[in-house]
Amino acid sequence: MGFLHRHRGLTPYLLLAPGIVFLAVFFLVPLGFLGQQSLESGDFAVGYSFTWAWGNYWDAIHQYHAWLVRSLLYAGLATLLALVISYPLAYWIAFRGGRWKNLLLVMIIAPFFVTYLIRTLAWQTILADQGPVVRILRDVHILGANGRLLATSTAVVAGITYNFLPFMALPLYVSLESIDKRLIEAAEDLYASSAQAFLRVTLPLSLPGVVAGTLLTFIPATGDFINAQLLGTPRQAMIGNVIQSKFFNLLDYPGAAALSFTLMAAVLILIAIYARVIGTEKLTG
């Protein structure tokens, strides 16, 4: 311990070193390799070589913009749905949960305890053509006599919504729960209707949760390919499906790498716009 006493300033770096080195080597360095790979040309049989092949990015955008747009659209829709579904639920737990709050929270994250793929397969069962949901929707003529849910965009968006919902609900709950209830009482004492109190006090105070929740849902959802694969058809394929098949079926590593970076760039641009609209100070907390 003598060494540490003489060099107290070193302690934080010693604590950081193992984890940060690990993240640098297995997160940052791979991103660098991915960047390099995205600018290579050639083909799998001969081998790829680095040639500043910016054309890979042009190809990525030119050939696959439909997949990119679809991914962002599905992810955006699912995020919006998850917000609409989980806000009232998080509100109810935070304000009415009482001593059962923690137990109710466990119920919200319960879907996470079932393996991702298995719970997506359960949605296959629920939405299947012979299943009860399709039958009811056909009976009330929301779906045509041969209408189906499985293998449609609806099924894919529904699957993504369900799978990422806890990512939305938890931050919402945390920000709603931390609101000082006296502020709302004060608003009501000052003759605000409960709608006004909600819109002017509760909602603005819960915005950090809304921001965190939307980001935590939207970002992973854009890269998802499981829902499109299991609940959709190739016509619902997302950018993740393309990246996956370029890597494993087409062995087009540069193309896959360029698409991965294009996806990241698209997500970062959208987040930047979002931050602009909502105000950066709310993004950081």
């Binding site: 311990m1 934080p12 993240l23 989980s86 009232p88 305890f113 991702y116 793929l117 499981i226």
Partner: protein, 265 residues
């Protein structure tokens, strides 16, 4: 009016909970299904056969064992590394703190498919020195778990009373003793939470694993392969067991927390 609104919200909450829990109920129910063929999509009648014959599908048990091994190792290593980072971030001011925070945040904000793809490219570029398999899966899982551990432990470190540590130091304990006797017991619940979270993230991961597994098959990869040709009901048996164990651990955690809070107030 207020009465209606009050109960409307409660009714809504019940519907929302049903939406969250019905798919889980289906997973459990279909582990008791008795399908005639390979497809376990429609209900054919109750049986205990799948539970008695849980090891009846070749490869399924091995996949589960591999997933458990990796989840255990990944959780231990990621929790150790992540806890140290959290201690440095909360307890010390140092140059490069902002950069460290960014490096912790960015992996959580990166789509999994990019994480998986970039690691695969790294391993491919290292050539024959690296064989895709157990170790590459383990490395990948530790990588994406660290950030979550840091966030969990950091939250606990920030929230507890610094003066307890100062009191120990005033009473003559050195830094190491203070850490062992005061800090560590106080952040123990967060460390356990980090362990459980990492374990859950690891055992559930499909995308990153898919890219870096080589010919190894974890439980989610097995389910993925089976999904192409009809999922055997035994998969639901394993899914149910994982669910029940995870839920049990979570409920114990909630009860312990309630008891602790009961004592302190």
């Amino acid at each position: 009016m207020k009465f209606i609104r009050h109960h409307l919200l409660t009714a809504y909450a019940i519907v929302a909970f049903a939406y969250l829990l019905v798919p889980i109920a289906i997973v459990i129910a279909f582990s008791f299904n008795n399908p005639p063929g390979r497809y376990n999509y429609t209900w054919h009648g109750f049986t205990l056969r799948q539970w008695q014959n849980w090891d009846g599908v070749p490869g399924l048990k091995d996949a589960m064992v591999l997933s458990l091994e990796i989840a255990f190792l990944a959780a231990v290593v990621a929790t150790a590394l992540g806890t140290l980072i959290a201690l440095a971030l909360v307890r010390y001011g140092f140059r490069g703190r902002g950069g460290t925070n960014v490096l912790i945040f960015v992996p959580m904000a990166t789509p999994e498919v990019v994480l998986g793809a970039s690691l695969l490219v790294l391993f491919l570029n290292l050539g024959s020195a690296v064989q895709l398999g157990f170790w590459t899966i383990l490395i990948a899982h530790i990588m994406f778990c660290i950030s979550y551990v840091v966030v969990t432990v950091k939250a606990r470190l920030i929230s507890f009373d610094r003066s307890l540590e100062e009191a120990a130091m005033d009473l003559g304990a050195n830094e190491f003793t203070t850490f062992r006797k005061v800090t560590l017991p106080l952040i123990a619940p967060a460390i356990v939470a980090g362990l459980l979270l990492s374990f859950a993230l690891s055992i559930d991961d499909f995308v990153v694993t898919y890219f870096n597994a080589g010919s190894e098959i974890t439980f989610p990869l097995f389910v993925w392969g089976a999904a192409q040709r009809g999922v055997p009901p035994q998969v639901n048996v394993f899914g149910t067991v994982i669910f029940v164990v995870a839920l049990g651990l979570m409920l114990i955690n909630v009860l312990l927390q309630r008891r602790r809070e009961g004592v302190s107030t």
